[in-house]
Amino acid sequence: MSLAEAERDDPVVSNDDAVPKGKEQHLVTLVKRHSVVVRVTHWITVLCLTMLLMSGLQIFNARPQLDFGNKTDFDHPPVAIDSDKVDGKARGYVRIGEHRFDTTGVLGLSDFEGKPTERAFPSWATLPGEQDLGTGRAIHFVFAWLFVANGLVYLVWGFATRHFRRDFVPSRFQWRHIGGEILDHARLRFPKGEKARQYNAIQKITYFLVALVLLPLLVVAGWTMSPGLDAAFPFLLHIFGGRQTARSVHFFAAFGVVLFVLVHVALVLLSGLFNNMRSMISGWYDIGQERGTHG
């Protein structure tokens, strides 16, 4: 059977133009992986999270310490980013409990317009770059509204179409084979062919936790910092155990999002940047079928 015939036999769209010469053993087998709602909301989320994180660090810089409960401990906050003088030289540090880490140049003390400046997060990470809490907050709220509106569209769509049920909940088969999958994942062996038609268990669990737990938690913790919303929904304070705890949860959840994004982007690069980008832009994903397993 010729290559072209083999592809015609395939139940999904194939494109032999995309097969590079000399690599005939690899058949391009494109499956429609992401619906338009997933793609559009994904990229709006990318924009919003970028703006929210950078303006959030600007806001955090106004009081670079974390507390628990309803009151701030001004003398000895549990977590603080600060600076002081050591042997006459200014040093930046992060203190967590009794542990102190020198972070000069990045946290606590970093260059702003060429001068060493006392600021918790450096200028390149905050929006705007200079210290401007009012503008940082205004930007944060623009993208907070967009993020929540976009997230609601996604959540309603995801439940209505059973997207979450189908793509975020591992099947019984997947649960049973999760051990092998973790090993494969650790060795950076990514599923190909039929197995790549759906998310693997690790992807499903991760996306479940990020989209349905972490990001909603981040939003609700953010609301709990609002004195107005605390009057309307006092139970928010009971859930978190105080405004300062909610602020810390908001910060750590954002930190969790950053960790997720780092791993997510690394895996996108390792498992095929072009294929992944194509699937998140056009929807079509190459499951990378091996010749001979099919047709």
Partner: protein, 260 residues
């Protein structure tokens, strides 16, 4: 004027403009871009409309127990006004102090501390949330602003309560220190927890906390809670005061609505 109505179209075009402005102009120039600025201000209005829709006029901010009160209540902004008249009054325990209530009222008032203390009293233990992110819990005693407004008789055209203060902020302006002022709308002014506080922790306010009289607007952030009040003016709008944004901090870039 701050009270620009927020329509769905302003929100949509606003969102799109903000994205374009942030993406294209390089995020640094945003404050200089009038269109982007309009979007950012528009979202301030959206926060306010949303909270007004969620919050009834009577819903109370959480109140706490005496044992929750902060041992050290942080004092920021002005902590020791320079004004000569203020200093002279403070030296005499504010015996000569008179609160002026005027503007769009039927009966302009001048109230001494004794007269204010003779009015209805409310004591509340509330959490003070600073825009910077910290919180303190304090016990405040004062008279509900509602009663003072009723005594003066608010005219139908009045929409804002503007607080003029004794303190000034030296922000390097070559024309000299900037007089401090602030404003709230009548919804916030008439809220049961909105008081003109004169005691803190059962004792007269210390100077650093705004003696002899400060505002508590418990459903908003700390920068709305004006200290060292000398005059309350009922107004239709505040565009002719300061830079026209409704308060010293608002003129410096904070949102007028501070519920979030």
């Amino acid at each position: 004027m701050v009270d620009r109505p927020t329509t769905r179209r302003t929100i949509l075009t606003g969102g799109a403009t903000a994205i374009a402005a942030l993406g294209l102009a390089g995020c640094e120039k945003i404050t200089n871009n009038p269109l982007a600025r309009q979007v950012l201000d528009g979202v301030g209005g959206l926060n306010r409309k949303a909270q007004e829709a969620i919050l009834g006029s009577e819903q109370l901010a959480p109140e706490y127990e005496l044992s929750d009160v902060s041992t050290m209540f942080y004092a920021n902004g002005s902590t020791d006004p320079d004004d000569e008249r203020y200093k002279a009054m403070a030296a005499k325990g504010f015996d000569t102090y008179k609160l002026v209530v005027d503007g769009l009222v039927e009966r302009p008032l001048e109230l001494t501390m004794a007269e204010l203390r003779a009015m209805p009293v409310r004591t509340q233990i509330t959490r003070h949330d600073c825009v910077e992110g910290w919180s303190c819990i304090g016990q405040w005693t004062g008279t509900p602003l509602q009663g003072v407004l009723d005594r003066a008789g608010v005219k139908a055209t009045a929409r804002y309560v503007v607080f003029h203060c004794f303190d000034t902020m030296d922000d390097g302006d070559p024309s000299g220190p900037t007089p401090f002022y602030g404003s709230v709308d009548l919804l916030a002014a008439r809220h049961p927890q909105t008081i003109l506080a004169y005691d803190m922790g059962g004792k007269p306010l210390e100077v650093k906390y705004g003696a002899p009289l400060r505002l508590r607007v418990e459903r908003q952030l700390g920068y709305k809670m004006t200290k060292y009040i000398k005059r309350i003016q009922l107004m239709e709008d505040f565009k002719d005061i300061g830079q026209g944004k409704g308060g010293y901090w608002e003129d410096s870039g904070y949102q007028w609505y501070a519920g979030i």
